[in-house]
């Protein structure tokens, strides 16, 4: 199943500060939108608003044509899930992996009895390539990359249609980053998810997204298909961002 997300004129203000100033975006079903911007650009606010953690001051959010109200229903909550940046803070330190994965399963009645919950938990771990023995362990026993896999498994437990990934690899080592990105790509294809992928790293954005959207100071600066954006952004800010990325020395011809 896949569903498109449409964001129309989304506005969030904190007191006098406008965190999001009328953002409109369209994420086609089954595609990945890469949202890039520097700190304070409002990209995380946008993610949290779409996830329903922040109630917008104005604007309309719709998933698959159905508008999402300020107070979401249980079913609507289930449709949109999020993976967060910090693997140290994204799992409750006092819950075992079994509890982390099964809590939402039971609450949303995805599974109804103990045996099917157990089976589903193991499937989820398999999906993120962790072994079933992880179930009885606690977050501190895992490395950053493994914790991020558990967080992904938790987000997938309720079978969402839209997955928001807010800098999911920024806190990870490069080698681990690559494997988590590969995993996300696999899962996206396998489950046909629509993905809103947020990162400040243009290399990551280039690798994962179909469309690139650039934000700055709460405003959407430009939106362009991946290839076209990296070939030449329309705006000066887009070019500035691209130029600022440090480059590896060109590989020697073989």
């Amino acid at each position: 199943m896949s569903t498109n997300l449409s964001i129309e004129n989304l506005t969030v203000r904190y007191g006098g500060f406008t965190a999001l100033g009328g953002v409109s975006l369209e994420v086609p079903a089954g595609s990945t939108l890469g949202l890039v911007g520097e700190s304070g650009s409002g990209k995380s606010t946008l993610a949290r608003t779409v996830a329903g953690l922040i109630v917008p001051d104005a604007g309309v959010l719709a998933l698959g044509g159905q508008p999402l109200a300020a107070r979401r229903t249980r079913a609507q909550r289930k449709q949109i899930q999020m993976v967060f940046q910090n693997p140290d803070a994204s799992l409750n330190p006092r819950h075992s992996v079994r509890r982390i994965l099964s809590e939402a399963l039971r609450f949303h009645r995805v599974t109804t009895d103990r045996a099917s919950t157990e089976r589903r938990c193991r499937e989820l771990l398999e999906l993120v390539r962790l072994d079933g023995g992880a179930l009885d362990r606690y977050p501190r026993e895992f490395s950053g990359g493994q914790r991020q896999r558990i967080a992904i498994a938790r987000a997938l437990s309720v079978e969402p249609e839209l997955l928001i990934a807010d800098e999911p690899t920024s806190a990870l080592d490069v080698s681990v980053q690559r494997s988590v990105l590969d995993l996300l790509g696999n899962i996206k294809a396998q489950l046909n998810l629509t993905v809103l992928f947020i990162s400040h790293d243009l290399g990551v954005i280039h690798a994962v997204s179909d469309t690139v959207a650039v934000m700055r100071q709460g405003v959407l600066v430009e939106t362009k298909p991946n290839g076209e954006f990296f070939a030449g952004p329309d705006t000066a800010y887009g070019r500035e961002l691209l130029a600022a990325v440090p480059r590896m020395p060109a590989a020697a011809p073989n």
Binding site: E38, S39, G144, D173, V174, S175, V176, Q177, R178, L181, H200, D201, L202, G203, V204, H206, A207, F230, A231, G232, P233, A236, R239, E240, L241, L242, A243, A244, V245, P246, R247, M248, P249, A250, A251, A252
Partner: protein, 317 residues
């Protein structure tokens, strides 16, 4: 930027170093002998440069309670004006090595062996500029204080020197009229202040621990450019710890790759990154997500100057 003043500062800086050098004349002789055996030393001889300013010889660090090795037999040497990038993933011991050079080992870590020979002053630039600054002290005052104690100047001269340093680092002149607290500055500006604090010690070696990791990519670009420019102007040696291979490639002439406490590969930056000999280095290089070669070539660089100007005159309140 006032060119004349910069030159004056530089000369003064060098005068200070000459005095130090006379004192260390004898020890320098030893370095040459000691360096002959290892690749770093050979390379130093190849480039025909003077004796190393910093030499880390077979440094080993371990956890104080369990004796688990954290850094194992690390050696490198660095001459005046040279730059070495220490790259590796978390837990590779790159930051610990840097701290050992500064003599600031964290509690629970002890030196198990090896030697650090240093013929000059070292100063450090930290990853998180905000936590490296005293939040309750205005920034010019902070810099002036360091100048006063490290360069033995009176209050007034120290303040003048501090303002000059800040000017050199591209911070706005308005700081001279109205001092600001760290929280009133942006992250990039804070990092410039931290660099100013380090330079106020007139270091012969500048140790940088992931100085751009906490910064936005455009600000990172400014800091990288700034450090390169200052190094060319002032001639200090640079040890640059980072997990970002591309930043290391831009900043450093040589790169040492660390894995689990050991240096697994060392050499000129371009060689290491384009023709890695070690499989771990190869893996790190492969893990970098590249941008298309042509990306952003059209006119991106031209806005550098205006970018810097904007950062200089914009305060975040």
């Amino acid at each position: 930027m006032n060119k004349r003043r910069t030159d004056f500062w530089k000369k003064e800086h060098e005068r200070g170093q000459e005095a130090d050098e006379r004192k260390r004349g004898e020890r320098v002789g030893e370095y040459r002998g000691a360096a002959a055996g290892d690749p770093a030393g050979r390379q130093a001889a190849d480039s025909g440069r003077a004796a190393p300013i910093l030499e880390v010889d077979n440094l080993s660090l371990e956890a104080a309670d369990s004796g688990a090795p954290l850094v194992d037999g690390v050696r490198f040497s660095l001459g005046r004006g040279e730059s070495l990038g220490l790259v590796g993933e978390s837990g590779s011991g790159k930051s610990l090595t840097l701290r050992a050079v500064l003599g600031l080992l964290p509690p629970g870590v002890r030196r198990a062996g090896g030697e650090i020979r240093q013929s000059g002053r070292a100063a450090m630039v930290f990853q998180d500029p905000r936590s490296a600054l005293d939040p309750l002290c205005p920034v010019v005052k902070q810099v002036a204080e360091v100048v006063r104690y490290r360069q033995k100047k009176n209050r007034k001269a120290a303040r003048a020197e501090a303002l000059h340093l800040l000017d050199q680092l591209g911070l706005p002149d308005s700081l001279g009229q109205e001092d600001r607290y760290p929280h009133q500055l942006s992250g990039g500006q804070c990092q410039r202040i931290v660099i100013a604090l380090a330079l106020a010690c007139r270091p012969d070696v500048l140790l940088c621990d992931e100085p751009t990791t906490a910064l936005d990519v455009t600000v990172q670009r400014q800091i990288v450019d700034l450090l390169s420019r200052l190094q060319a102007e002032l001639g200090f040696a640079l040890v640059f710890v980072t997990h970002n291979l591309a930043v290391a490639a831009e900043m450093c002439s040589r790169i040492a790759v660390m894995q689990r406490g050991r240096i697994v590969e060392e050499g000129p930056a371009e060689d290491v990154l384009t023709r890695p000999r070690n499989p771990y280095t190869q893996m790190l290089v492969d893990a970098v997500l590249p941008l298309p070669a042509s990306a952003g070539e059209s006119g991106g660089a031209s806005s550098d100057r205006e970018k810097e100007a904007r950062d200089e005159h914009q305060f975040i309140d």
